[in-house]
Symmetry: C2
Subunit: 336 residues, 2 copies
Amino acid sequence: MVDVARAAGTSQKTVSRVVNAEPGVRPETIERVQRAIAELGFRRHDGASHLRRGTSTASIGLVLEDLAGPFYAALTAGVERRAREHGYLLLTGSADGDAERAGRLVQAFAARRVDGLLIAPNLVGDEVLTANLPPDVPAVLLDRPSADHGTDEVLSDNAGGIASAVHHLAERGHRSIAYLGDDERFWTSRQRRDGYLAACAERGLGTDGLVSLGALTPERIAAAVSGWAAAGVTAVVTGNNRASVALLHHLHERTGPRPAHVGFDELDLADLLDPPLTTVAQDAAGIGSAAVDLLFERLATPTLPPRSVVVPTRLVVRRSSPPPDGASAPPVRNDR
Amino acid sequence: MVDVARAAGTSQKTVSRVVNAEPGVRPETIERVQRAIAELGFRRHDGASHLRRGTSTASIGLVLEDLAGPFYAALTAGVERRAREHGYLLLTGSADGDAERAGRLVQAFAARRVDGLLIAPNLVGDEVLTANLPPDVPAVLLDRPSADHGTDEVLSDNAGGIASAVHHLAERGHRSIAYLGDDERFWTSRQRRDGYLAACAERGLGTDGLVSLGALTPERIAAAVSGWAAAGVTAVVTGNNRASVALLHHLHERTGPRPAHVGFDELDLADLLDPPLTTVAQDAAGIGSAAVDLLFERLATPTLPPRSVVVPTRLVVRRSSPPPDGASAPPVRNDR
DNA sequence: ACATCCGATGACAACGTAGTCATTGACTCG
DNA sequence: CGAGTCAATGACTACGTTGTCATCGGATGT
């Protein structure tokens, strides 16, 4: 600004006025200053401006597990869109399963004076995570609960989504429904398993020996599926898209009767599979924008009590979930 | 720092020394200062530090078309990982097809004094884009060429990738190979079409009436495919994953002989489709990390001439690209 | 005992910007 | 014609930090 002022023959303060479109500058002065700005290629230093004004940086930090997954990508897109609507910029970082890395990201974001943090890595333990959250920066947890519900959180309706899958299958006549979940370290994994158990209990369906949680190795899946077949299982619910894909791979490589299948998480090509996969679609972008909304509300009113938002899921019925052999025809369409 | 200094009974400068681990502070003083820091929850203001030091902000800005797509998500993950390895933070924003929005993002990033820009939106016209690039911030274009090659760029081997698809099909005995591409506004769309034309010419294959570029509406695809069938086409190459999916949908909903099909861009579930789709896989993460590498090289040596990096593609042969009827049958490999 | 040196520390300025307040000069009004 | 008003502008300072240089007290050497 000093250079511009010299070029325009004014003071630095007048340049500041022109840059910020403050009133009280003669039109011809504005003109001179703007010409000097254009000539010198001047651009205001936002950091210095924020420092002097004491205003916020108009930015938020998003910590993810891994940007490349479809769920996190859609979530990030939702966050970014809503943030941009408010004129905020988005800083992103992935923890990649490393709690220390997540902590460093949080520290780095806080040091940059982001206005708020959105925290989504689901591999990092609750204790580690909440212990590392700076107390002076508003944070919203995404797709994971706050340890003591002392922080705003946005969750998918995991239990309800799984329940909708179970009810859908039960209504089509399935009486023995199994659950294939991912590693128990994931909170969502445990949560969905519990949703499955609750829905089955509500329906009076047995679940003994029908739950398999753990790493999604081909061996484990083969063992689980063959055990279930022997036990008369006619339908399987998978707890996330990695489990769905793993089960699909298994079924793809083996012959024999195919259980009905509903997968949690939408798959991009679900309707091009054979058969098209019935899924419980999560609204990842909705989770992201809801989190940004919570954050802005807290920025406006810091005294708000911690809130928890549950984003509904949507059951997308396709053809992988027909009634079991011998059952009556389902309402929507009749397969096999 | 002033508050910390008061609490620790030192000067603010000594706090600065402790915070930056500068030598020449008595251990007990360090101890006192650190206790005060912990008590007050002090955290250094990185913005002020950068301002005073005159150093860079250790951040880069990434402008995308749309974060939610798998290509951009993988690209972003590659960028973020490499940036983090250098201790840099990543600012992201989506243009969503709006050139003005892309321009605003660039301006906002530049005002935040990012050290460099990575520009990937492929819907924004070259002229608009390059006109809006600030001359004083190093930029790398991703997956799109620089108008006059005056800027560093990282491109996928579009022509080579398409050529590998054409050669693969030709070697399996196809003599009439069609090309289904996305809207001609996309540079990659034109580029890949040209790659197809060149490869066919090299093989002596005709292409008259075998090229269809445009919006991927069901009507257009149906018209193109039925025309091609009449013309004796036995294989189709699709120019991006949206085209692949569109063609798959069309083939899925219709009966009759199925042309061999190779799709540009990997699909997550390509191997679960029926038949599993042969694809030309792009290394999106590789494009991202290569772009970051180019950027850091330019930051180190600003006088470097503009460079262009081409990231190779990889042909993933699956079962959707068998020889035409009448040729010998390949089980999994076996050509022609 | 005195000069010297050195480790530890603090005072001050400056990075680029914007808020506060004073100054200037032209203009209006009685 | 003098006082008052007002628009336009600039001088100065502070935001939180770090580089430079000065200061201070004690230990060392002769």
